[in-house]
Symmetry: C2
DNA sequence: AAGTGGTCTAGACCACCAG
DNA sequence: TGGTGGTCTAGACCACTTT
C-alpha cells in the first residue's frame, strides 16, 4: 500500500512519479511484455491523483513506446525493443556490456589545442580559442583474447561548457557517459556517412583499406552553445547503427 | 473571428484542431521561425476550449519539435530543421525537389517472386509465398544534364497488406510515398551500415569499386504484419543521413 | 502587477469491449 | 452492465519573466 514514495520526491510533477513507477517495473522485468499495468482508476486510487494526471502519465509512456493502450480493454507493456541509438545517444561501454562482452579503451590523444578555422566555426568561438581534443579507440573482447577495435572516437569539447573534461580518466568513464552526466544536452545532430578509412584510421582500427567504415558525426548543444563535436568511426563489419520506433499514430500491440 | 472551422471537422479532438491550425501556419511560413504564437489564453478564447485543451495542443507541438515554450515568456516557432530522416521516413523525390533539383527514376525490376528462406522469415510467411519485388535507381540532376544516381532501392512488399502495389507507376509516385499513403505503418526499423558496392551496384549507381556506400535497411510494420523490407544504397559521396532532434528535456531556443 | 506556461483537481460525457 | 481509455471543462495555485 502507501504511495511508494521514491527517494527523489523533490518537487517533481505527479505524472512523473507515476511514469517512474511504471518505468521501473517495466525496466526491471517485474512487469514483462504483455503484462497489464494498473488502469487509470487504479492509479488514481494508488497515487491519490486525479484521473487526468494518471492519464497523462500513461499517455506519455505510450508515446514513448513503453506501453500500448487499447480503449475498452486496458494498458499493456509493449513487447518490442524501443527506440534506440541514432536517436538516443548510446554509451558504447554499456552496449558492449549488454552483449556480455568486455569493453576497453586506449587513449591516443588527450590535450588542449587552439581552434583552427573549421573548429572555430563549429564551436562559434574565436580563432585560436582553446579547445579540448580527445582521441580514443574502443575495443570489444568476448573472452580472454585481446579484442578488436570497434570504434574510433575523435572528439572536441568546449572548455567553457565542461571545464573539467580533460581531467577525467577515460578508461573508467566514457566521454559520452561523462558528458551526459555533466551537461544535459538540449539538442543533438547526427550525420551518418560511409568512408574508406584513412591510413591512420586503418592502423588504429586494425582494418584493411578496402573495408568501408561508418562515420557518425555528432554535435550537441546546451543552452545555444555547442558542447561537443565527435566523429565516431565504426568498421562496418563490426558495427552497424540501429533504430526502431513507433510512427506518429502510436497504437497497436497485443 | 469565428473558429476557423477547417474542412475536416469530423469528430477530431479539439486539441488536434488547434495543432493543425498552428502547424498550417508554421508550415506555410505565415508564422516564420522565432514568431510568437498565440498564448494558451488566446487560444482558449479563439477556439472556445478550456486551457487544458489549448495547453495539450501546444505541449505536443513542443514535444514534436515544432514549437519552443518558455515559462513566463511565451511560445515560439522553432528555428531549426526538425527531426528528419533516419527517424521519419523521407521521400527522396521531395527531398531532391526541396533542393531545387530534378528527380527521376529508372525501374530496373518490378515483379512477383516466391519467397526464399530469408524472405519468408522476414515477412513471417510461408516458403514460396508470393511477394512483390521492385528495384529502382533514383537520380538527381541540377540542370539539363543527365544527373547522377543517388539511391538504389531494392524493395520487397507484402501483397497481403498492399495488393495494388505493383500496379503503380513508380516514375510518378515513389514507393515510399505510395506505401505511406496506402498503409500507415505502426512501426519502423532502420539499420545502417557501410558497404563496398557489389559489381551490380557499381553499375547501377555508376560508382567505382572503392567508393563506399551507405546501406539503409528499413522494415515497417502495420498491425503486427510486415509491410515492406527495403534496402536503400547511397553512394557516400552523394548522400549522407541526417538527424537533428531535441533531447528528452525539451526546452530552449529564442 | 500582469501575463506566461506548468501543473493539478473533480467532476463529466463518450465509444468501446467485456462478461 | 461495468470497466476501460479518450476527451473536455472550469476552475485553481504556482514559479517565472516582463513591464
Amino acid at each position: 500500500m502507501a504511495v511508494a514514495a521514491t527517494p527523489d520526491d523533490c518537487a517533481r510533477p505527479l505524472y512523473e512519479h507515476i511514469k517512474t513507477f511504471v518505468r521501473e517495473r517495466v525496466g526491471d522485468g517485474t512487469w514483462p511484455p504483455g503484462h497489464r499495468v494498473p488502469s487509470e482508476n487504479q492509479l488514481v486510487a494508488r497515487f491519490s491523483v486525479s484521473r487526468m494526471t494518471a492519464h497523462r502519465a500513461l499517455r506519455e509512456l505510450q508515446q514513448e513506446g513503453v506501453l500500448a493502450r487499447r480503449p475498452g480493454v486496458g494498458t499493456f507493456v509493449r513487447a518490442i525493443p524501443r527506440k534506440t541509438s541514432l536517436i538516443d545517444i548510446r554509451n558504447i561501454a554499456e552496449e558492449i556490456a549488454a552483449r556480455g562482452h568486455r569493453h576497453s579503451v586506449a587513449v591516443c590523444s588527450k590535450k588542449t589545442i587552439p581552434a583552427n578555422q573549421e573548429l572555430a566555426a563549429d564551436f562559434e568561438v574565436d580563432l585560436d580559442s582553446q579547445l579540448f581534443h580527445l582521441v580514443l579507440v574502443h575495443r570489444e573482447r568476448a573472452d580472454r583474447h585481446k579484442g578488436v577495435p570497434v570504434q574510433l572516437e575523435d572528439r572536441y569539447v568546449n572548455p567553457a561548457v565542461v571545464p573539467t573534461f580533460l581531467q577525467q580518466d577515460f578508461r573508467r568513464t566514457t566521454p559520452t557517459a561523462f558528458l551526459l552526466a555533466a551537461v544535459q544536452p538540449d539538442e543533438l545532430e547526427h550525420t551518418v556517412t560511409a568512408i574508406a578509412p584513412s591510413k591512420e584510421q586503418q592502423t588504429l582500427l586494425e582494418v584493411g583499406a578496402r573495408e568501408p567504415c561508418l562515420l557518425l558525426r555528432r554535435r550537441s548543444w546546451s543552452k545555444e552553445r555547442i558542447v561537443t563535436v565527435a566523429e565516431l568511426v565504426y568498421p562496418a563489419s563490426r558495427y552497424s547503427l540501429y533504430a526502431r520506433h513507433l510512427h506518429p499514430s502510436h497504437r497497436q500491440q497485443r
